[in-house]
């Protein structure tokens, strides 16, 4: 009888060929997917060339998504994207996404069924932890880890301790998944889950759709977490059915599994939340931030660029106009989201309000392109980081919120709630 294990420990044990694992143990796992983007893949490809193998381990289990500086913002980024494109062609990489089918990687790969429950996934992008929302173990690594994994299909891990977040009850009206995860990061800090797996459970989580669950797992890294994870239920199965290209495996934590700490959170205590510069943990209630005037609003990214996020923002801005002092940029995370927005009228709602609607890209989230801030400017963004200089000039500021507050702030010209719109 193996020791009682968490969902994370069970997935890792299964991929290491072991009956059981314990926190702190160093293991080597078989991988189900390795991914990289146009920033991290060029270095990974360079390092891959030094490993001494001709071909990647499995061209169907590598995803290359040029999403950060694409459509290419300048000559240098065009050269980086070209390296990725040529490698993908030479190696016959199945999951390479050219402009026209490309999306923000962590929205795209779940949508396309490339990731599934029970997988072990590494990605040369810190927000790889998003896929934990499907009941997978997924974690960000650097380019060199990705390079070696592309060659061998394996990676080493230290089995993380797990933190359990039990969130129960009904969320208040106007409170969404982004508020839940900002609340948690505000509570435990940007290294509150350092080296640890964050397991999210409770009736509040169960009531969320997949988009909200992905928003929560996406930002595990902002608390320093190695991964975020939510166990499979009917919502997950419904999402994966007809989508996931491989059979999936469901794991659940044993009732007596060990946790480094268990946090119990009452959903009623969570309010619409904004993270002030320059850390995602620097959170305050939106109701206390109304004096912050803004220059730009960004709705999009791997955190909040899915259809549900667009619908949430559109519902607030419908019939209103973006404040004359504000530029609003809406970036659907995938081509499918973009198309669905057109078919359901969301695109018209944003255009009528005076917002720009763009093709998918990570763009402004990391200060890449498509909405860079000048000195002293302030943006409200549904993205994931508000570090110094994150969206442009080092003296600019980023305030992180959910889509509804972002849309309301665009209309108001300052940070505010949907009900503040007259």
């Amino acid at each position: 009888m193996p020791r009682p294990m968490t969902i994370t420990e069970k997935i890792l044990a299964a991929h290491a060929g072991l009956d059981e694992v314990a926190p702190g143990q160093l293991i080597e796992c078989d991988l189900d997917l390795v991914l990289a983007n146009d920033v991290t893949a060029p270095i990974a490809i360079r390092e891959f060339g030094k490993v001494g193998v001709e071909r990647v381990w499995d061209p169907a289990k590598i995803a290359l998504v040029p999403d950060h500086y694409t459509p290419n913002k300048d000559i240098k980024s065009a050269e980086q994207a070209k390296i990725v494109r040529e490698f993908a062609r030479a190696q016959g990489i199945t999951h390479y996404y050219e402009i026209g089918c490309m999306g923000v990687e962590h929205a795209l790969l779940p949508e396309q069924g490339v990731v599934g429950a029970g997988d072990v996934i590494i990605g040369a992008d810190s927000h790889t932890c998003t896929y934990g929302a499907l009941g997978a173990f997924a974690t960000g690594v650097g380019s060199t880890d990705a390079a070696v994994a592309m060659a061998t299909g394996r990676a080493w891990f230290k089995v993380p301790e797990s933190l359990k977040f039990v969130i129960d009850g009904e969320l208040r009206p106007g409170v969404g998944a982004k508020d839940v995860i900002l609340h948690i990061i505000g509570m435990i800090g940007v290294d509150g889950a350092l080296y640890q797996a964050m397991e999210f459970t409770g009736s509040t989580i169960t009531a969320l759709g997949m988009a909200g669950r992905m928003t929560i797992c996406n930002m595990a890294i902002e608390a320093g977490g190695k991964s975020g994870i939510i166990a499979v239920d009917d919502v997950t199965r419904e999402y994966m059915r007809g989508r996931t290209e491989r059979p999936w495996n469901e794991y659940h934590s044993d009732p007596d599994a060990e946790y480094a700490h268990v946090y119990e959170i009452d959903a009623a205590d969570i309010v619409p939340t904004v993270a002030f510069p320059h850390l995602p943990s620097n959170t305050r209630p939106v109701s206390e931030a109304r004096d912050v005037k803004i220059d730009q609003v960004v709705v999009g990214s791997c955190t909040n660029g899915r259809y549900e996020d667009m619908a949430e923002a559109a519902a607030v801005i419908k019939g209103h106009t973006v404040h004359p002092d504000v530029r609003m940029i809406v970036i659907p995370a995938t081509q499918q989201v973009y198309r669905d927005m057109m078919h359901t009228g969301l695109t018209d709602i944003f255009l009528d309000a005076g917002a720009a609607v763009s093709t998918p890209t990570c763009g402004p989230c990391l200060g890449g392109h498509m909405g860079i801030l000048a000195a002293g400017e302030r943006a409200v963004a549904t993205t994931n980081r508000n570090f110094v200089g994150r969206m442009g000039d080092p003296t600019s500021e980023v305030y992180l919120t959910g889509p509804a507050v972002a849309a309301a702030s665009a209309v108001l010209g300052h940070i505010g709630l949907p009900e503040d719109i007259g």
């Binding site: 920033v39 380019s143 320093g224």
Partner: protein, 164 residues
């Protein structure tokens, strides 16, 4: 491995966006990245850092993005070793994999001021503040990670295994 240099001391949560801002990520050339190392935290860093100098920081050094450009920029700027109270986990892996020596040593961080002369004996895990004379110990790497470092980094150790 022995290192000796002037300490450059920073606070907690030094993120990869200030270590190497994303506006420079349209290249992966180490020398080009080094020109902008720490730019958004300390614009004067690149001018004052000398080959062999030592970066000292509080908790959670390297948090944020997975960009390997961060340890690459630090190494190419001439820094010999980073001493911190703790490292963000992706940065920790990246530093090991790319051959940037790092040490977790909370007491040493508290005992080193900006501009102090510091020597490090990484094999023995001993850090000496030559300016004050104080001596500190660092946590040793687990043997598995030491093997990767001594094997010349992850790619080199994998290449050796593949060639066997």
């Amino acid at each position: 491995m022995q290192f000796s240099g002037t300490a450059h001391v920073y606070g907690r949560d030094v993120d990869t966006d200030v270590i190497i801002p994303a506006r420079y990520l349209n290249t992966s050339d180490p020398d080009a990245l080094a020109l902008h190392c720490m730019e958004d935290l300390d614009p004067g860093f690149v001018k004052k850092v000398e080959p062999g100098d030592i970066l000292v920081a509080d908790e959670n050094f390297g948090c944020g993005s997975s960009r390997e450009h961060a340890p690459i920029a630090i190494k190419a700027a001439g820094v010999s070793v980073v001493i911190a109270k703790s490292f963000a986990r992706i940065f920790y892996r990246n530093a090991i994999n790319t051959g940037l020596p790092i040490m977790e040593a909370p007491e040493a961080v508290d005992g080193i001021s900006d501009g102090d002369r510091v020597t490090v004996d990484a094999d023995a895990g001993v850090i000496t503040n030559e300016t004050t004379g104080a001596v500190f110990s660092a946590q040793p790497f687990p043997p598995f990670i030491k093997d990767i470092i001594e094997g010349g980094g992850l790619v080199e150790s994998t290449r050796k295994k593949a060639a066997r």
